[in-house]
């Protein structure tokens, strides 16, 4: 699993990246009441706002950690957005993206680097 400074996580299997928000991000957001996942078939570039997660208080953008084509979105979050709080780094995944270039993955932080980054926040 790799991480971004915007608190997304990425797991790579072959050329498909599964993307979600970190446990830290979910905790900071509080109770998630709505998630807008990206449309399947859409091409995203790293850094694009590609999903939205909403708490009682506010809506927050989720940024694409990597570039590629969205091939799946987590339908569970439509009816059960609270899954993002209950299981942020597994069942609460947002989307699967087919990478145009898998080397992007290697540029992301590993868990130790992310944990160290959190300490600086």
């Amino acid at each position: 699993m790799r991480f971004t400074k915007d608190h997304e996580w990425v797991v790579l299997e072959g050329d498909v990246a599964t993307i979600g928000i970190t446990a830290h991000a979910a905790e900071q957001l509080g109770d998630v009441v709505f998630v807008e996942t990206p449309e399947v078939g859409k091409t995203v570039s790293a850094g694009d706002a590609f999903a939205v997660v909403e708490s009682v208080k506010a809506a927050s953008d989720v940024y694409a950690p990597i570039s590629g084509e969205v091939i799946d979105a987590n339908a569970v979050l439509g009816d059960a957005p609270e899954t993002v709080n209950a299981d942020p780094e597994n069942g609460g995944w947002f989307a699967k993206v087919r990478l145009s270039d898998t080397s992007q993955y290697d540029a992301l932080m590993d868990r130790d680097a992310y944990e160290a980054f959190l300490q600086t926040q």
């Binding site: 109770d31 009441v33 709505f34 708490s55």
Partner: protein, 370 residues
């Protein structure tokens, strides 16, 4: 943002000790939520009793020969007719009939009029009142007092155990009284739609009173996040969002605050516009919307008719923990204000079904008689 350091309330240290997440609000460092979180704090207040630090709000005494009649020069409410130990909601108006602020003003004792205004507006409000009523009243700010709101279905039991003298008060009663080992100004009112009290205490006593309230197991501290979602469910407007200097009290659905005798006398700022709007209807009106699908519609979201034409705007909106869906206050043309009218809200480019509903979203539970 300016570099002015944030002000603190007499309870800031208590919030930090409770693990609150502090944010800048109205120039103060204020708790937006405690570790319990906005959702749980909201539901706790609806089911039990929440306490809120609202010490950022402006408290003042207006003193003079006839402060009630003087005050009527800046608001449209009947304050000459305000009975002792009662308070009344009103709006401070500009000459164009727009709302400078909304406020509570009452007679807790025989020492003039006690006024509570919004924190972000207080310096401007008190300057305007001081200017407009120069020679008639003195505006004596009570910056040495804190304000604690105690809200929820168990608030009455919590407060009455500690302040037995507050037991025979009803909604919008206000009294200065000794209690909790100090001097209090207690009103039975609030900003959540629930029964409850707001208690003004000397700043030096605030931390002790706050801690005392928290010793009751029915009580939890509640932050500004839940304060906002609670007032939204109660259909209550928030100054700077639903109300501003362009919005009239008629547009905002606050005609109850414009008393009949004042309408006839037309002797308040902006009376021409306001009386005309009362007679002919305003150009836009505040409505309550339920968002029936998709994301919550928040402040700034456009409101469209069923053809997709933009006809209004959301001035505050979010997720209702009680209704488990999106709710919003919006301004629309008056022909679309009827409950049941189908509309659309536009969130991130998507048209989502919405419906006009009666205010409030969640029933008020004020105790109007004992």
């Amino acid at each position: 943002m300016s570099d002015t350091p944030l002000k603190t309330t007499p309870l800031t240290d208590a919030h930090i000790a409770l693990g609150a997440r502090m944010v800048a609000f109205a120039g103060y460092s204020m708790p937006v939520q405690y570790p319990m979180g906005v959702m749980a704090e909201h539901l706790w207040t609806r089911e039990h009793c929440g306490i809120f630090d609202v010490s950022h709000m402006g408290q003042a005494r207006l003193r003079g020969v006839s402060p009630l009649s003087a005050f009527e020069e800046v608001v449209p409410g009947d304050y000459i007719g305000l009975k002792p130990r009662r308070q009344k909601y009103s709006v401070l108006l500009n000459k164009a009939g727009g709302i400078i602020d909304d406020l509570m003003a009452g007679r807790p004792d025989d020492d003039g009029l006690f006024v509570v205004v919004n924190g972000a507006c207080k310096d401007n409000d008190f300057r305007i009142i001081d200017n407009e009523l120069a020679g008639q009243v003195s505006v004596d700010r009570l910056d040495d007092r804190a304000l604690i709101a105690v809200q929820g279905p168990e608030a009455a039991a919590v407060v009455q155990r500690l302040v037995p003298a507050a037991a025979d008060m009803v909604f919008m009663d206000i009294r200065a009284m000794p209690g909790l080992g100090t001097d209090l100004i207690v009103s039975r009112s609030g900003y959540t739609g629930e029964d409850g009290y707001e208690i003004s205490v000397p700043a030096s006593e605030a931390a002790r009173v706050w801690a005392l309230l928290l010793t009751d197991e029915r009580v939890r501290p509640i932050g500004l996040g839940a304060r906002d979602s609670l007032r939204l469910e109660a259909g209550l407007p928030l100054y700077g969002h639903d109300l501003d200097e362009t919005v009239s009290p008629v547009e905002a659905g606050l005609t109850f605050a414009i008393n009949k005798n004042r309408r006839e006398q037309r002797d308040f700022p902006g009376a021409r516009r306001i009386v005309q709007e009362l007679a002919e209807g305003p150009a836009r009106v505040k409505v309550c919307l339920r968002v029936l699908e998709g994301a919550p519609a928040r402040e700034g979201a456009e409101v469209a008719d069923l053809s997709g034409a933009v006809i209004g705007v959301v001035t505050s909106g979010g997720y209702s923990p009680v209704l488990k869906g999106g709710i919003a206050l919006a301004f629309v043309p008056p022909e679309l204000k009827t409950a049941g009218t189908a509309l659309k809200v536009i969130v991130r480019g998507k048209l989502q079904a919405a419906e006009v509903v009666a205010s409030p979203f969640v029933p008020h539970r004020y105790v109007r008689k004992l």
